[in-house]
Amino acid sequence: MLPFTLISVTVAIGLFLLIRMPNIEYLFVAAYTIVQYVVLTTAWNILGGYTGYVNFGSAAFFALGAYSSVALATFANQLDELVPESIAPMLHLIFPLSIPVLIVIGGVVSGIVGLGMGYLTLRLRGAFFAIATLAMAVVLQTLVVNWEFVGGSSGAYIVRPGEFPGLGSYMQYLFALMLALAVLALVTARAIERSRLGYGFAAIRDDELAAEASGVPTLRLKLIATTLSGTLMGMAGAPFPYYIGYLQPQSAFSLEYAVNSIAMPMIGGTMSWVGPLVGTLLLGTLQQTANVTISSAVNLLLVGLLLIGFVIVAPNGIVGLVQDRLRARRAK
């Protein structure tokens, strides 16, 4: 596990320096989105790929992270009006919170919701879980739309500092944080895969009843999976308000996140941590290019069609295709 962590940290730092080289700010903006999807899809895959429970509510977990940041930032701005004068100076020492702290908080909030969600729905068949996640996204959006403190339906502005001391533009700082999160997500996913936990997840995916009968604590494992997955998604969402500058419920709860976080792992392959990474890098780069060159609606159509095509033709994704090819060559 340690060598893998070192390698991924090195790759992340290398990537950061490489993107920094041409000195084009837009590269960071585009790369941030792709790396953010690496975190989201890896998180999705811990539940969807390893245990076989499809989560359609990725956008909701992502938005929870984003909106907990908005709520805390708004709280920091209106500190003096909201709390009694005696405590205010003390709170001023803590607020405004730095983004790494916001990421942790966003993760905790989403993780708790993931746990609750799993607790209510995971006792039932898989399909119910999928539907419930979809419905949950709608409800959380309703709550946020009705919550005036974070801007309601019209959205909230978040002022992004221009510079980050020692690193250059703030966007570079956000990108560096997101890279760190991606490393964290990938290391976690890979560690799970090779642990007792991972084998338990795989047993649930292959045959839940048989797993339960042979003593795998299925409910507890599934709850671990939903919590972990939700936490990582929330963490990915927490810096988002600072990235976008103006957060609306529609953009935070956008179906695009739900679709991409399913399509990318499915296209890459859901059996291991490599699949979501490959799928995201490929599809993410394609999307960013299409966004600039064609239009965003066409780009979404492309994702949908690719998703349908891959689940029909290559059920194990690109990684599965490559593995089959290698196996066939070895057999010769």
Binding site: G52, V54, I131, A132, V139, Q141, T142, L300
Partner: protein, 289 residues
């Protein structure tokens, strides 16, 4: 809480519930009887709305008549989708994860194609019964709600008769209970499922026309109905048509009361509350199988 307001909300809720029954009928067949988690169903309903809209604006035909004429087209679309679904997923035994992703993709593609073709503008139809209302004392019966409700109940009755009285209909019920037993009686379960799924998508044609009568439609409006239809279907008890009808009415009334007393922006949360409570306390629904 004013009494008149409450009565008005309940009546409006029953009308709304009648319409929800039409929206849910297809899911009740696909999910309740065939175990096909067709989350793309609301997208087909919106497709139905757009077809009704195009023909209505072009030729001035009544949307409900259009939807009845379009039934065979939707039926064939449904059988085609089932064929793809069967060959790609059911036959390989991968329907759970990949089947869901497949329908999610279909939902998304349908929505984006409508978006590319018609843009994000709200579209509406014209018909003589949109506008006027009947009045009975304090009760208001807007015809644009009453007509869809009656059309929906008619469709529901026809479906119920088809399923409970005809041989094929009974075979559909049988396929949801024991596929092997059906095979032993020399009935091809795949054919039965294909017919049933075709029927399920066909209901989307009518539901779509009713939707565009009730409210202006834009491509992503179907999403609001995903939570609702599954909540109704689960609450009613999987595969039970009478249960679906009762649950639809119940959800309509509760939503309408919430919208009247707390504001319409809270209404979408109701369906989810219903769904979660049902799943947590009575997973077999009101009249479950």
């Amino acid at each position: 809480m004013s009494f008149d307001l409450l009565i008005g909300a309940i009546v409006a809720g029953l009308l709304l519930g009648g319409f929800y029954a039409a929206v849910t009928a297809g899911i009740s067949i696909a999910f309740g009887m065939l175990d096909i988690v067709n989350i793309a169903h609301p997208a087909f309903i919106v497709l139905g709305s757009y077809i009704a809209y195009i023909i209505n604006v072009g030729f001035g035909v009544d949307p409900i008549i259009i939807s009845v004429v379009m039934l065979p087209v939707f039926y064939l679309l449904g059988t085609a989708i089932y064929q793809v679904y069967y060959l790609s997923f059911e036959k390989r035994g991968q329907e759970s994860l990949r089947g869901l992703a497949f329908f999610f993709g279909v939902l998304f593609v349908t929505e984006v194609m409508l978006l590319l073709a018609f843009g994000v503008d709200y579209r509406y139809v014209e018909a003589p019964y949109i506008g006027p209302s009947l009045h009975f004392g304090p009760i208001d019966l807007p015809l644009r709600m009453l007509v869809p409700c009656l059309a929906s109940l008619t469709m529901f009755a026809v479906l119920q008769i088809l399923i409970s009285r005809t041989f094929t209909g009974r075979a559909v019920l049988a396929v949801s209970q024991d596929q092997l037993a059906l095979q032993l009686m020399a009935v091809d379960p795949i054919r039965i499922k294909r017919i049933a799924f075709g029927l399920s998508i066909a209901t989307a044609s009518v539901a779509g026309a009713l939707l565009v009568i009730i409210q202006p439609v834009e491509p992503s409006v179907g999403r609001e109905y995903i939570g609702r239809v599954f909540a109704i279907c689960v609450l009613g008890g999987l595969g039970s048509m009478p249960g679906t009808l009762i649950a639809a009415m119940l959800l309509g009334v509760v939503e309408s009361i919430t919208a009247t007393f707390y504001g319409p922006s809270w209404a979408p949360a109701i369906a989810f509350g219903f769904l979660l409570l049902t799943l947590a306390f009575r997973p077999s629904g009101l009249l479950g199988r």
